[in-house]
Symmetry: C2
Subunit: 352 residues, 2 copies
Amino acid sequence: MIKSISIIEGDGIGPEVIKQTIKVLNSIAKKYGHKFHYKNLLAGSKAIEKFGDPMPEETINHCLKADAVLFGCIGDPKYDHNPKGMRPEDGLLKLRKKMNLYCNIRPISIFPKLDKSPIKKELLNNVDFIIYRELTGGVYFGEKGRYKNGDKAYDHCIYSKKEIEKIGEKAFKAALFRKKKVTLVDKANVLETSRLWREVIKKISLDYPSIDLDFLYIDNASMQIIMNPKKFDIILTDNMFGDILSEESSVLTSSLGLLPSASIGDDKSMFEPIHGSYPQAEGKNIANPLGCILSGSMMLEYFGMYREKNLLEEAVKDSIEKEICTPDIIDSKLSSTTEEVGDYIKKYIIHQ
Amino acid sequence: MIKSISIIEGDGIGPEVIKQTIKVLNSIAKKYGHKFHYKNLLAGSKAIEKFGDPMPEETINHCLKADAVLFGCIGDPKYDHNPKGMRPEDGLLKLRKKMNLYCNIRPISIFPKLDKSPIKKELLNNVDFIIYRELTGGVYFGEKGRYKNGDKAYDHCIYSKKEIEKIGEKAFKAALFRKKKVTLVDKANVLETSRLWREVIKKISLDYPSIDLDFLYIDNASMQIIMNPKKFDIILTDNMFGDILSEESSVLTSSLGLLPSASIGDDKSMFEPIHGSYPQAEGKNIANPLGCILSGSMMLEYFGMYREKNLLEEAVKDSIEKEICTPDIIDSKLSSTTEEVGDYIKKYIIHQ
Ligand SMILES: CC(C)[C@H](C(=O)O)[C@@H](O)C(=O)O
Ligand SMILES: CC(C)[C@H](C(=O)O)[C@@H](O)C(=O)O
């Protein structure tokens, strides 16, 4: 197959993790006879510096035309005080919206070999759930602003039935191929938007009689995810709650650096690690490339390349079994560099 | 001293934990020559059943006149689908608002004897922080509703400078007597209300040069609270984020049932355990009364009864050291009943 992939390296450790991911994807392409055409695009700090815009039109246009976007990470404390629309994060939000990537998929699974989680090991056996986070609505995209001379600020959270239906359908479909359970997380005892979520999701569940649907308030969920992580299968939730729960869930694994994500729309898609730009690690060859590499693996799955995806994930598992790991997930005296992890995975793929 | 205390037992395990708390408070009163006058008031399900209102005017009026309110817990799944304003939770929110209890204080500390936390023990030494949660503003109290025939729902989040200042001052003052650190948790990379929080809190910090102020995004905070709980002293945050973080933090201790809270206004106050009504445990004599008893201890402190508070907390610690504990925090084969825990603490106080 031939695929065109827009690449946004972004800020901080973005370029380093993307480099390893492309290396690995190329070894997959070679082995299976695919052609991946990459196009490097600017966004985040670098685009602010060059174009005065964290998400230039050119970048958006290329992303809209590509078969998929592979995204590193953006964010730079230097620009935190930029005016609205001019922060790196604004660029990311704009791209998600323009590409209509309403469904953000964040799988949480455990590598039993690793032991850097703050959670007691016996609680982590068989933890395997996926967060379906709504990504283009809610309080992230509602009107926001100031009044009374700037003394009052507001953020509006809005959801429509349609928005909830679209991601709801995707979540139930996913559950069919898994443990057949959907947990809707909301704050329906306080929020009207949450009550709409419950209504719509209950209605969808009637079409999926084999799926167990249950409900948790966000406060309770943030506790249950740590106390009983095994009990989850698909967690379905809104933009803000999904942001919180997915980063919180990283404590179950040994590092935020391990976690991939896919953002899907009706026909567009973007793949990005959950971790941020981690400026303190930039250029030190210590960043964990696995979150980005596993995002690449979600991209292969999206392309329908299942054997390819399986091989890539086997290679990642093997690198962890053999302790070819960056210092965030292993004793730093034994650790490998970002580059060495990428090389190991590439070699594994070639030699299988 | 003479104090009038409004009592709201509420739903589920509320009556049981309140009963033990009053027992313990009475032993304190007797020992130190105080008089506590209690007035039982209805709210939550029982008030819905009797008056068709989860927070009757009479209850509010008494609470406004009392020196303090001691609150059990409310909530009953039976009423989850009641119309707006008619759910037990609506009653609690109304009372907080009417009493102007804008500052909710939720201390998180560890009893080293206990080992039911899912977190590895070595991470928990010296964990001791307090969450200052804004309680009468934000998305909880902004306008909410439906339009487009109910197909769209909205919740407005609003904050004013004043609202942030009031709780901000209280948080900085508290830090002066502690580890001198305030962490503001927000989502300033996305929300305008969060940006107002940052502005106002930065400005307040200028008056407190001895206090270290730092900032965390809510997604990151929900991870850090588990990864590095020791590093926090005062966590200051808005209504919604405070709800989530405080319940999440309960995983550091061995049980949600242990956690007290105080809600303070300019001259009113209410004390309530963090746990909910836990209907499954109702009437079984297994509910942990310590969250409520420790809320009583925060009330004693609020009354300026410092020796009394210290003795009560010593008694609670002793009950845990001697393993007189409900089954949520100890091996259930060794556990005591709700009643037995209250009796033990009462006896300890009398005999000291
Ligand atoms: C950078 C930020 C705007 C973003 C978000 O909150 O969505 C990030 O935290 C994420 O989870 O992808
Ligand atoms: C019952 C509910 C409305 C309440 C809240 O969200 O404030 C509770 O979760 C709490 O934390 O006190």
